[in-house]
Symmetry: C2
Subunit: 313 residues, 2 copies
């Protein structure tokens, strides 16, 4: 079967989602909701008319669960087969897995296929996307949402609703492909925003990867300082007293390790920059407290309070 790009934009299309963890599973469920929603069907031609969703996973049990949940129409453990007939391929695996999968997707996807990823860092992925065969249309993607639990079982069709969805077209990306990625983001209820990969990676290092690092160091420090956890009275007390403040500040530390490892390692320079700046501000705070410099300490707390209290989410 050969389709022209024009046909693909108006016809019922086939979407292949590679990786059915939290992000891929939730995307499948959200697309399913979109397809079944009578309001969505009345949208204009730019919207997605999804005929078929194919899932690709290493794990046959995940495929079975996704089929049972009605998230996908068909599943395969074979990446090449899974992407070969798709109009849109969505890569929803960890960042370094995406980097490994891109060449194979390039070899097996047909001419005109739009390839979008959901990876949390964009410079390395967009760079790899530049090496895809000419007929493939790449768009880097990053929906700004998640949970600290992963896996298909944690999937939620509302995960993307109202969330910002960063899109990074390459210089070679055709406008129709970007339009399709935009429609995909809107179909799952997200708010697309176009930006370049470097700007993206610098920004998410500040508001996502640095908070993660801060949470990891927090948990590890309290763990170390409370005797590493082995049932002493003082240790038990510390964890018993932990309330909503610790819960929220440390929440990101429970994120999936392999996913976060990929993110940190593919955004190393930006994360290191922000970590350095964070260390400076932590040292300022510590110095003011150590000196008992009440005026300086008040200024530091007040600056953060004013900024944070003014934020809405």
């Amino acid at each position: 079967m050969v389709q022209t790009e024009k046909d693909a934009l108006t016809d019922h299309i086939s979407i292949t989602i590679v990786g059915l963890g939290l992000m891929g599973g939730s995307l499948a469920l959200a697309l399913r909701d979109h397809t079944e929603d009578p309001d969505a069907a009345s949208l204009d031609a730019a919207s997605l008319n999804v005929a078929r969703i194919v899932g690709v996973s290493r794990n046959p049990e995940t495929l079975a669960a996704a089929r049972a949940a009605g998230a996908i129409d068909a599943g395969t453990t074979d990446l090449a087969q899974g992407v070969s007939r798709a109009d849109i391929v969505i890569l929803a695996t960890p960042v370094r897995t995406i980097l490994r999968q891109l060449p194979e997707v390039g070899r097996h996807a047909r001419h005109g296929t739009v390839v979008v990823d959901l990876g949390s860092t964009k410079a390395a992925i967009c760079s790899a996307m530049a090496g895809l065969p000419e007929g493939i249309q790449p768009v880097g993607g990053h929906p700004m949402c998640g949970k600290e639990v992963g896996g298909f079982a944690a999937s939620d069709s509302a995960l993307y609703r109202g969330k910002t969805f960063g899109l990074c077209p390459l210089p070679r990306t055709r406008p129709e492909a970007l339009e399709r990625a935009w429609a995909l983001a809107e179909a799952i209820g997200a708010r697309p925003v176009v930006l370049d990969p470097v700007t993206h990676d610098h920004a998410v290092a500040a508001i996502s990867h640095l908070p993660y690092a801060a949470a990891v160091a927090l948990v590890n420090a309290v763990r170390a300082g409370s005797g590493a956890g082995a049932g002493t009275a003082a240790t038990d007390l510390i964890w018993r007293l932990a309330a909503s403040g610790f819960r929220d500040t440390s929440r990101l530390a429970a994120s999936e390790v392999e996913m976060m490892l990929d993110i940190l390692l593919t955004n190393r320079a930006a994360v290191l920059d922000w970590l350095g700046l964070y260390q400076e501000h932590l040292a300022n705070l510590k110095a003011a407290l150590m000196l008992g410099d009440e005026a300086e300490l008040r200024d530091l707390l007040a600056a953060a309070q004013a900024r944070r209290a003014g934020m809405t989410f």
Copy 2:
């Protein structure tokens, strides 16, 4: 009117709450709920039989709001007058205000009055409580709850429900007084736990004050690194992309500045110890990332993940 301690334990009692912000206001509302709950009335003699709640606030408008909400029966701006007839005085002001108020409470409270505070640090307060006149019965208190918004308007009768309520009796505190503080904690739905002030302060520095400091430095670093906020495109983008991860990690930075200033300054040694340990763990993380030491980085992330994912709140 003179009451013996025995009378006070069985009779309907009068409670004075000093400070009607989030903590004091919520306490008043919770006691009101307790009094009006028919199940509570059938509890044994150890429970609180609250006849009257008096509020003390600098601000007449706060007193009027608290009366209008039914939180208090009477209000006064005069601390001496407010505490003079109370069976229990609850100090719900910031820590250093409590330290200033204690001597005046000691001068004006009558013999047998139980004085409990809700301050977030305990060593300095329990030390000051040791100087109260002999007839006064002091119990340091710290309910492990809060919100990042303050003031009577934020009060919530459910604030204490299910939360740990630390109690620090002094060597001089009589068992009946501790029993009364325990009943107070239970009356508002909290779970009392007795501990010594130094252990308390060390523990809360880890799980409350350190997370606060981490959140403040996070907001200040991102603020500084994004150009301090003045409407540039890159700056706007950073804040626009901020999602639930940043929201939660930075939440504590919105806490009331004067309250937190008092907490940090009255728990300086413990907070500095934990900050130092935190800096070490942050440096470890940064070093592993800088070196691209994947195995070490994975170990650090996995240790935090295992600890944090195992926590329930």
